[in-house]
């Protein structure tokens, strides 16, 4: 049991890195904006659909990633507009977009529920000048690691700008945003746009790595990413110097380790979503139980 777990550990860690981009996106909506955004179940595969389709048409992998990111931004923008301008509840705005995106994703792939990228195609991780310099077993960890690091640094920088302060204020206390003479709705829309751009980017990167797009790959994205974010944030709660972005990346890796451990213990990959749900429930329950204890103390 332990040996299977250890044998798969490198690929588990890689998965953690690949999904860290997704967790950074969810961090914006969940931790910063306090917005339960279900769009991600549609925007994650949207990124995969766009990038995979474009790769198969011979696009450059980086250009395909950028296009996927832009499409994700557009999806987030729509959710924001639905919520703010049409005054639809946060949860429903996300569900509407998630449902619409399922069909849109199929349209993008030309009706294919499954797309695979041939071994000969150039992706972010193989058959390109940078990847060819690296030994095969180091390609994914190094390239994904650099991507996550770059995004983390950019996000940290953004959160320390005037616009970043305003975004944080919008999730913290809307009244303050209004008092600053700014439209809180527009700030929310901007946050949702950014978040879903990151989520779609993550979906695109995951698809390029596994060389496979599958239309239902988005199911459970939100829960999986939330679990990562909450693990990370809770783990580093008492540590002063750790930035939330770092915590979330660690959370993403740790989450994948937990799931791999469960599977190594004898659970079938079929039970993956069940494990995810149980893990998520465990985290939430332990959090609220702890709060209760505190309240009684």
């Amino acid at each position: 049991m332990l040996s299977t777990f250890l044998a798969t550990l490198p690929s588990t860690l890689e998965q953690g890195l690949l999904y860290a981009v997704l967790a950074l996106g969810i961090m914006i909506t969940y931790t910063i904006l306090d917005f339960p955004d279900l769009t991600v179940d549609g925007s994650f595969p949207l990124g995969g659909a766009v990038s995979t389709t474009l790769l198969l048409r011979g696009w450059d992998p980086l250009a395909a990633l950028l296009a996927a990111t832009a499409c994700g931004a557009l999806a987030g923008l729509c959710t924001g507009l639905i919520h703010v301008k049409l005054r639809v509840r946060a949860l429903f705005s996300g569900i509407i977009m998630m449902t619409a995106l399922y069909s849109i994703n199929l349209r993008i792939t030309g009706g294919n529920a499954l797309l695979s990228i041939p071994r000969t195609a150039s992706t972010l991780f193989r058959n390109n000048a940078a990847a060819d310099l690296l030994p095969p077993w180091l390609r994914v960890p190094i390239i994904a690691g650099l991507l996550v690091l770059a995004l983390k640094v950019l996000l940290d920088l953004f959160l320390s700008t005037r616009a970043g302060y305003l975004l944080r204020a919008a999730g913290d206390n809307e009244t303050v945003v209004t008092a600053l003479g700014r439209d809180k709705g527009n700030v929310k829309i901007a946050g949702l746009t950014m978040a879903n751009a990151l989520v779609a980017l993550s979906g695109a990167v995951v698809c390029q790595e596994q060389r496979l797009f599958e239309v239902s790959m988005g199911t459970g994205t939100m829960v999986l990413a939330l679990a990562s974010v909450i693990i990370g944030v809770n783990l580093f709660r008492r540590v002063e110097r750790v930035r939330p972005t770092t915590a979330v990346i660690a959370g993403s890796i740790l989450y994948k380790v937990c799931v791999a451990f469960a599977i190594a213990c004898g659970l079938s990959p079929m039970d993956m979503k069940l494990v995810t749900a149980a893990l998520f429930l465990g985290i939430l329950a332990s959090g609220s139980l702890k709060r209760k204890e505190k309240a009684h103390a």
Partner: protein
Amino acid sequence: MLELRQIDKVYNPGTVREIGLFSDFSLTVPKGQFVSVVGSNGSGKTTLLNILCGSLPPDSGQVLLDGQDITRQKEHLRARRFARIYQNPALGTCAKMSIRENMALADNKRRRMNLRPGTDRSRLPLWRQMLAELGLGLENMMEARAGSLSGGQRQALALTMSRLTPVDFLILDEHTAALDPKAADIIMHLTDRMVRESGLTAIMVTHNLRFALDYGDRLLMMHQGHAVLDVRDEGKRRLEMEDLLRLFNEISVECGN
């Protein structure tokens, strides 16, 4: 100058719970005046502020700012000239952000919210000095989260933040009501100094009759959507606590509370 002209406001129109609050209510506040507003519960004090700030639209009537009709102007656009301090100290600051970041947010109100650094380090000495004037030691804990402060400290921070913003009007919505007596005194004193120093036009709703008497140059007592007392300057200075209490009891008894 701030003007309310012939304001009508009815809550729950067309239902059994219909409550007519304002009918044909008008009020003019000249530039630089500090108005205290007292009144029984449900007399329309907070509704008055909400209509002024744009959180609530009047059914009819106009809100004018220096002669310009702002009745339909959105709340956040109005906020460019208004600062509002709430009864709940948590509403004026961002709990998860540090004192420094809260001050920076307020200082950025006049600026574009772009990708420049959120905290302008060259302003730190000014922020420290303004916080030091409060005498609460906030200047030595710039990195503490606003959420970790006491109610009085948070209200003082909120007040200092509004001092940083380029506003002409200060709206105080029972802003000392949630504080202990000592903190309330400190905040009230700070408020008065801020209004005087910056030449602000201020409207303060309060349940504290003593504050209403001691501060401001005009006193309004509201009852069922009307000003039953409106004294200013000399008239207000001659007003005694006993008179005010008697009048207040009369309207309260009428309401049954």
